[in-house]
Amino acid sequence: MSLSPELMSELEQIVSRYEQPAGGLLPSLHRVQEEFGHIPEYALESVARLVGVPKALAYGVLSFYTLFYTEKQGENIILACESFTCSLMESEKVIGEVERVLGIKAGETTADEKFTLYSVPCLGDCDKAPVLMINWKMYENVKKEEIASIIDTF
């Protein structure tokens, strides 16, 4: 498998914005993930070749950053904050409820591939704790009782 000429051309354009090609590695990975929902291995190889780094190094980068996914994700990605203020505001109850309603643990995808759940570090919205992000939309002051109906909207 290989990336389409259109996408490759886009990536070349992206990489050209930076002083050195390696500066285009993360932006390229973002673009690939935007396209496929994750970064398949063949795409990683193409990007590595494009920016002129060894595949192993590119894989190191891919695996270092938590928002880059190597595997197919669910249709909807839920990021549930488990950090300091959210935990003071009982985020464990909220995350536990999401796990119960979806029937999965954090880090897993539902069998129907509709949802993937991650427990994540501070999302920078602490005055509205506890918070969740679903597909990059912020849900604030989330109560355990609201979880089922929030999930139902998807």
Partner: protein, 427 residues
């Protein structure tokens, strides 16, 4: 007590996110003044005299940082806005990024002019998608109208800005790890010296400034350093500070106050006191990288010097409040787990130490640890401080050590009764 909304003045005005709205609010007057009537060295001088200190956590004098970079003979130079806000309890930069994107551009413009940078990046954490979209729109508008690009506002000065999205890594908020990330690598910290002002992005002189720091710059240039200093509460407290208040208070939120407002003023006068009629147990004035303070410390001024003297730290001003029902063992586990997860892994004391402390605390939680192991945590923490390349290794044990020192009973009770006395439910 009232807020002093200088940086937050226009963040509730939706039109402020458009160039015409921003201009109407007085935007880009400072940039015009700097580019047309001042030399770069004049700009540096005014910022030095304002005593502006970095608002990202380290508190390094901004004017001095610029001066060091400007003095370096190498080119090109880079100006980077550190928008990788990730300290738990900090949410001030998000408000500025989402609701005053042109202020960041103007701050970057003036700063770049001062140091002689021709290229700038906003390193934005990957989760801040709304901020990213709004910044891109603002940059596009600014480019169209000549506020970014070649010969800005008819001057000799040219400056280009790119938004660079992070991808989920707290450590990339540390300036050297940020530089590594910009260079397409894992966010490992670099040893200092050399400092980024001499050897930064691609080995060139680079200034990395926090969002709030950069947003302060236009105000200082326009109104003068004496005006800026007088906004603070005096005695080395200069300017304003946006404090992010969260936790068990009635009115959490971002509040801009004179630098050096007290914890009592923020938590009680502004924040409405402890919710549900509870009593205050402890507060982290600078998020979980700082040592905790107790009700005895409420009259401490929240500035760099006063908090350091009180044995804690201002950091980014993430004031997190805990009430009397809080289990300090759970707080310790939560904070050390964060650092264990976010450690880049380069330095052994940080990588291994955080994990080790976490494992001991998890056994304290279920009553399987002995009291001697609390001393072991202290030993580990002391061996991590100052032995790592970056401040994460130093900040990480701070919270835990202060909790054990000031709330030893919480920890000892877990050991004695072999469980949690508050029966806090853990997922």
């Amino acid at each position: 007590m009232e807020e002093t909304r200088v940086l937050l003045k226009n963040t509730r005005d939706e039109k402020n996110r458009t160039l015409s709205g921003y201009l109407k609010n007085g935007g880009f007057r400072a940039a015009k003044e700097a580019l047309k009537t001042m030399e770069p060295s004049d700009v540096i001088s005014i910022v030095k005299k304002s005593s502006l200190r970095g608002r990202g956590g380290a508190g390094f004098p901004s004017g001095m940082k610029w001066e060091l970079c400007a003095a370096d003979k190498a080119f090109p130079k880079y100006l980077i806005c550190n928008a990788d806000e990730g300290e738990p309890g900090t949410f001030k930069d998000r408000e500025l990024l989402e609701n005053d994107p042109f202020a960041i551009i103007e701050g970057m413009l003036i700063s770049a002019y001062a140091i002689g940078a021709s290229k700038g990046y906003v390193y934005l954490r990957g989760e801040y998608r709304t901020a990213g979209k709004r910044l891109e729109l603002a940059i596009e508008e600014a480019k169209k109208k000549g506020y970014i690009g070649d010969n800005i506002l008819g001057s000799d000065f040219s400056f280009d800005v790119l938004v660079y999205m992070g991808a989920g890594s707290y450590i990339c908020g540390e300036e050297t790890a940020l530089l590594e990330s910009l260079e397409g690598k894992e966010g490992n910290s670099r040893i200092k010296p050399p400092f980024p002002v001499n050897v930064g992005l691609w080995g060139k002189p680079t200034v990395v400034n926090n969002v709030e720091t950069l947003c302060s710059v236009p105000h200082i240039v326009l109104n003068g350093y004496e005006w800026y200093r007088a906004l603070g509460s005096g005695d080395e407290c200069d300017g304003t500070k946006i404090y992010s208040l969260s936790g068990h208070v009635n009115k959490p939120g971002n509040y801009e106050l004179p630098m050096g407002a007290t914890l009592r003023e923020l938590i009680y006068d502004i924040g409405g006191g402890i919710r549900n009629g509870k009593k205050l147990k402890a507060v982290f004035p600078g998020g979980p990288s700082s040592s905790c303070l107790t009700p005895d410390d409420l009259d401490t001024k929240m500035d760099f010097k006063s908090l350091a003297l009180a044995g804690s730290m201002l950091g980014s001003g993430a004031v997190v409040v805990m009430d009397e029902d809080t289990c300090m063992v759970e707080v310790a586990i939560n904070t050390v787990s964060f650092y264990a997860d976010e450690s880049c892994g380069k330095c052994t004391p940080c990588r291994e130490g955080n994990l080790w402390i976490k494992k001991i605390l998890e056994r304290v939680r279920v009553g399987e640890a002995s009291e001697e192991e609390l001393s072991l945590i202290k030993d580990l923490g002391e061996n991590m401080a100052g032995t790592c390349f970056c401040a994460l290794g130093m900040g990480a044990p701070s919270a835990v050590l202060s909790l054990i020192s000031k709330f030893r009973d919480d920890f000892v009770k877990h050991v004695q009764i072999k469980g949690c006395p508050k029966r806090v439910i853990v997922r």
